[in-house]
Amino acid sequence: MPIFEQGDVKIDVDEDGFMEEPEQWNEKVAMALATTEGVNELTERHWKLVNYLRDYYAKFGIAPMIRKLCKETGFSLKEVYEMFPSGPAKGACKVAGLAKPTGCV
């Protein structure tokens, strides 16, 4: 199994770089993963989105629809893509420590 290492962060990931053990997640891990998705700084707005994703995933075991994400966080579609250029499925979910979404993504 591949291991993702950056600074003192060392976690198990799948071949696409998504976390294998969600309990290993912490803010440092999120920051390290963010750099692999072209996000160099996690602002308050990023955290709001990441935390929402984590809460939803803990509750339902899947990633939320973009509709729910926008509605609950108050961000527009455009803002979400500005914060995470690779989109909610790949970028935001990866940083939030979710498993890789299923399907053509």
Partner: protein, 578 residues
């Protein structure tokens, strides 16, 4: 690793499944490979690694050996001569999973370069089907297949979430266009088009659906999204499971029928279009009466007929185009996207090789859903990365949601300075929104049974146009006028009237030519035509043609009663039909 022999019932099951799939094309592809090596350098897995085990013929032989052993007479007699081998151990099965799921995107580039016409993707898909039935498919493929079977779409989107998302996008569209009449219609019956999409557009990336909404709105199209059967993708194509293929095809087709749509349009998804148009009829046993189009074809028609106007100065960055395998190699759609891009961007740069010879995005065949092979996928994506880099473009446009994700992945992996966009998104960005001025003739007569109908009157004699317009207008019809054939065709395309009257002898394009052109145009052929002519002998030209006869006919000089009777008849008939 397990050298453990497979239980004999499992082998028997695998062989039985294999045998079941031996149709004519499969036997041809298994039987005729001469190992000439032509395919080797056509495969990006080989090209990036130079590993002979990645040559298409070598990979195909991993499956072919089973065919040779059990179905080929030479293999039965002298197995070693033709490389015939059995599946014996669990490792043999694991190796097959690695080959058919992990080392081939079923892009068919090798097939195009095979002098014998061996369809290696078919060989891979045949074995994928067997492994899927043995429950050995990669987990990602299983997950998606399960969601398609049980929920009806590949991302497990519930009905409630789908409807709520459409409602939200509906509001977004109105806001973006600042036009309350813009909408994403849902479950509207009798539309010209039922639009089936990729669930990615609902779950994560709805920009392409908004773009389509804008384009349909600008063109004044009558279209609808279905509330069910809206997923045009089909993992049956990737898993090799024909039953799943049929299930998904049936869902889409039945909803086009339920909504009485006049055509089915697939959004920009390569495999979805291929599966829906070319494979699902076989898998589902349903031959849809309505034609099936790709959204690219529809957009081309809008531009050519003037229904939408584009301003290419709105897209200034250099753009190249990546041909999705399932559209270019397996669907023949290569010129439509180029036409659209040249109309909507300033700087188009061709990628080499291109069209049917293009390299795979590296994510085909469901590869994006199989994480266990992602490392290899990204390694062999080097071929694509080099090809993209050489264009010097800042944006790579494509017409497939799966290609979008694969390209984004490799762009990040190889640190290219590029973005990915769908063709429809670039077209939507170049749209010139203008309100249409529709010529209106007020309905002032008491008996306005034609109110609500728009009738195009075509005649080269102004007196005749004035007379017919007055008679029909007096009864409430909204009149459009054309004085020659070309003008008539252009108004037909733009305005889609309820019917038209057509003079046969006109300078330039004759009425007969206009009629023929209409019948050959998928968007115009259903508009009722009422022939009005002073030269009844010309009537023969139309009735003798191979087209369906016109909907009505009167001679000049026109009898007012007869004219109205015919128009009433034509519109009533048409009204009942829809």
């Amino acid at each position: 690793m397990s050298q453990e022999p497979i239980k004999s019932d499992k082998i028997e099951k695998a062989l039985a499944l294999f045998k079941k799939r031996m149709n004519r094309q499969a036997v041809l592809s298994f039987g005729v490979c001469v190992h000439c090596g032509m395919c080797t350098e056509t495969c990006h897995y080989y090209e990036a690694t130079k590993d002979p085990k990645m040559a298409p013929a070598y990979k195909a032989d991993k499956v072919r050996k089973i065919y040779k052993k059990h179905f080929d007479w030479t293999g039965k007699i002298i197995p070693s001569w033709v490389g015939a081998r059995d599946i014996k151990t669990e490792d043999d099965l694991k190796e097959l999973v690695d080959v058919v799921f992990g080392s081939c995107t079923m892009c068919r580039r090798c097939t195009f370069n095979c002098p014998m016409g061996v369809d290696k993707a078919l060989i891979m898909r045949t074995m994928r089907g067997v492994l899927t039935e043995l429950d050995l498919a990669p987990q990602g493929v299983k997950d998606v297949s399960r969601d398609q079977w049980t929920i009806g779409n590949q991302m497990g989107v519930s009905d409630e979430d789908y409807l709520e998302t459409i409602e939200w996008l509906n509001d977004e569209l109105k806001t973006e266009l600042d036009d309350p009449s813009a909408s994403l219609p849902l479950d509207v019956e009798n539309c010209n088009m039922v639009y089936a999409i990729n669930p990615r557009e609902i779950k994560y990336a709805p920009m392409s659906l908004l773009a389509a909404g804008k384009i349909f709105h600008a063109a004044g199209e009558s279209w609808t999204l279905p509330s069910k059967g809206w997923d045009n993708t089909n993992f049956g194509l990737f898993s090799g499971d024909n039953a799943l293929g049929g299930h998904m095809g049936k869902l889409v087709f039945e909803n086009v029928q339920r909504l009485k749509g006049k055509s089915l349009v697939c959004s920009e998804c390569g495999h979805g279009y291929r599966a829906t148009k070319w494979e699902s009829p076989n898998w589902s046993g349903i031959i849809l009466e309505q034609p099936i189009y790709n959204f690219l074809e529809i957009m081309v028609d809008y531009v050519k007929s003037g229904r939408i106007k584009l301003d290419k100065t709105k897209n200034t960055e250099p753009v190249t185009y990546h041909d999705p395998c399932n559209l270019a190699r397996s669907g023949g759609i290569t010129e439509e996207p180029r036409f659209l891009l040249r109309q909507s961007i300033m700087d188009f740069r061709e990628m080499y090789p291109n069209r049917a010879d293009n390299w795979c995005c590296s994510g085909g065949g469901g590869a994006m859903s199989m994480s266990e092979f992602s490392k290899r996928r990204l390694e062999v994506a080097k071929v694509k990365a080099d090809q993209l880099k050489a264009t010097g473009a800042k944006i790579v446009a494509t017409a497939c949601h799966n290609c979008v994700d694969a390209l984004m992945d490799l762009i990040r992996h190889y640190k290219l300075d590029m973005k990915v966009a769908l063709v429809g998104e670039l077209v939507a960005n170049a749209l010139v929104m203008e309100r249409k001025a529709i010529p209106v003739m007020p309905a002032y007569a008491a008996d306005s049974f034609l109110s609500g109908f728009r009738i195009l009157v075509t005649d080269d004699e102004p007196d005749m146009v004035a007379f017919i317009s007055a008679v029909l207008g007096d009864h409430g019809a909204e009149i459009l006028r054309a004085s020659n054939g070309d003008e008539a065709l252009s108004i037909l395309r733009k305005e889609k009237p309820s019917m038209m009257t057509l003079d046969l002898s006109m300078p330039g394009k004759t009425g007969v030519e206009v009629y023929e052109e209409m019948k050959n145009d998928k968007f115009l052929k259903d508009i009722p035509v009422f022939i009005i002519t002073g030269q009844p002998e010309l009537r023969k030209l139309i009735y003798d043609g191979s087209y369906p006869p016109p909907n009505g006919y009167v001679d000049k000089p026109i009898d007012e009663e007869k004219l109205l009777l015919n128009v009433r008849k034509i519109l009533n008939l048409q009204h009942e039909k829809t």
